[in-house]
């Protein structure tokens, strides 16, 4: 065996070990979801009474179809819209220059956006609730969509401005020589090359919307608007909690989510190879 081959096998072994350790807690979750609530709380190490009762309970209590529908609507509107507005702003902040070179304005605006990264979402709840009421949005999807976009902006801008700055000038120069205008530059030349970042952001934003709890629990008060992230809390009573059903509904939400991500991930890789800057 050559040295190169050996290092490859060691690297593979280490990679598999790390992956296993990272996955262990999730496997434990799935295992627990097949145990009775009693067992989970008192004797989780005896896999003697595995059954599907928790899944039945979860299916009965949760209207999964409605929850998937609502979550999808929220994600499909807020994520693309958030990416479009963020990309426009990020492009303006990094690739534009004013007469007289006002870099400082751009930098200040960038930091203005980035400061949002530090905002703990719990201080937004009361004011956003009041804003939604004042604008007559409460009870509609927009009541959640608008804050979801706003919350995604700082991170989107951080990543987009970062990658736009590292973007090689030569491509732009070549395009300008070809007589390309600003709008076309933004969308037809630069945007396609940013596909890996955009795809990565899309995935992360979808995950955020998928899991978002504090806004959802504050701004949704209608059972027909319930989202997936509220599912687990349905089993949290004042004087009782059904951990088995929680684990089962968590699994029911997680597994498809992971499958979708795994599928989408191939797209990301494709985007990366196509867009790689050589």
């Amino acid at each position: 065996m050559t040295v190169k081959n050996r290092t490859r096998w060691i690297a593979t072994g280490v990679a598999y070990l790390i992956t296993f350790v990272i996955l262990l807690p999730l496997l434990w979750l799935v295992l627990l979801s097949f145990q009775t609530n009693e067992n989970i709380l008192s004797n989780p190490f005896s896999p003697a009474h595995l059954n599907l009762a928790n899944y039945q309970q979860a299916m009965q209590t949760l209207n999964l179809l409605v929850m998937y529908k609502n979550t999808l609507i929220l994600a499909l509107v807020s994520v693309p819209a958030g990416l479009v507005v963020s990309y426009l702003a990020a492009f303006a902040l990094t690739r534009m220059v004013f007469r007289g070179g006002r870099r400082r304005v751009q930098n200040s605006v960038r930091y203005y956006f980035l400061a949002g990264l530090a905002v703990p979402v719990y201080i937004l709840l009361f004011p956003v609730y009041r804003l939604d009421i004042a604008m007559g949005l409460f009870g509609s999807y927009a009541a959640l969509i608008l804050p979801y976009i706003a919350v995604s902006i700082p991170f989107n801008i951080l990543l987009l401005t970062g990658f736009l700055r590292e973007f090689p000038e030569e491509i732009e120069q070549a395009a300008v020589i070809d007589g390309v205008g600003l709008w076309q530059m933004a969308w037809k030349v630069v945007f396609p090359l940013m596909r890996p970042v955009i795809a990565t952001l899309a995935i992360l934003n979808v995950i955020y919307v998928w899991n978002e709890f504090p806004f959802a629990v504050t701004l949704i008060n209608d059972p027909t608007m319930t989202t997936l992230s509220l599912g687990i809390s349905q089993f949290q009573g004042a004087y009782g909690a059904d951990y088995g059903a929680m684990m089962a509904s968590a699994t029911l939400v997680l597994v498809p989510q992971l499958a979708i991500y795994a599928l989408f991930q191939r797209q990301v890789i494709a985007g990366m190879t196509a867009g790689a800057i050589r």
Partner: protein
Amino acid sequence: MNWLTGRRRFTLMIAPAFLLYTLYMVYPIAYSVYYSFTDFDGVAESGFAGLGNYRTMARDAVFWTSMRNTGIILAIAVLLLIPLAFLVAVLLSGNVKGSSVLRPLVFAPAIVAPILVGLIWIFILDPKIGLANALLVAVGVPARPQWIGGTALSPYSIAFVYLWQQIGFIVTVFYAGLKMLPKDVMEASTLDGASRFQQLRYIVVPMLQETFGICTALVVTGVFKVFELVYALTGGGPVHLSEVMVSYMYHVTFTTLQYSYGMALAVIVFLAGAVASVTTLVVMRRRAAA
């Protein structure tokens, strides 16, 4: 290469993001700052309280405990999470067999809802019914450490769970950065006979300054937002010993109904997070420029 342009176009391109962000993020912060100077209880009309809430905070032992715990998590996250995530990204971007299968799996924890992360880890870290101590017993270690719920280990355990939760996410950002590196640089250095480590240290790391900056800023701001983990794992207990800044703010605002004091805590959380992340970004930019 930059695009010389008029102020109007610039304004137009910035406007949608700027408006939404200002309305839904900046206005609420202003709102919180305002209420932090009152004695608002969350419901009834309020009076002006000046710096009263901030004075209370300075004397509040639990606030300082929550600062210390947040600091512990921050230190562990920066010192362990960033290098570890970078190494895993390098590992996965190399020619590991089946890395296309491993990549989504490593990312899996980042998909899990934060509140669920806490719930899962209770059943691992609980000193009595948790998996961790059961494994210890299985391999013959007699000690049954109180990972959570005791007076000593909780913040470290929370930091570890935070590391688990974030690693897939940070790995992905590093991975995207690695994939955007020009291929010829790597190939050239391999031909030159640079060892893998030298290649990383002197070629890859310097070229990924911006990515390192982004990841550090993300981890740092993330630490100041840790909440659900603590909430589910220990509820901040026992007796608030494992409270972090946001969980304590939540407790004060929603459990003990001291709304204005909660907002004062929120303002400090925000300031601490903003200062930490902007410092990170500025330092990283300096280093990148140097």
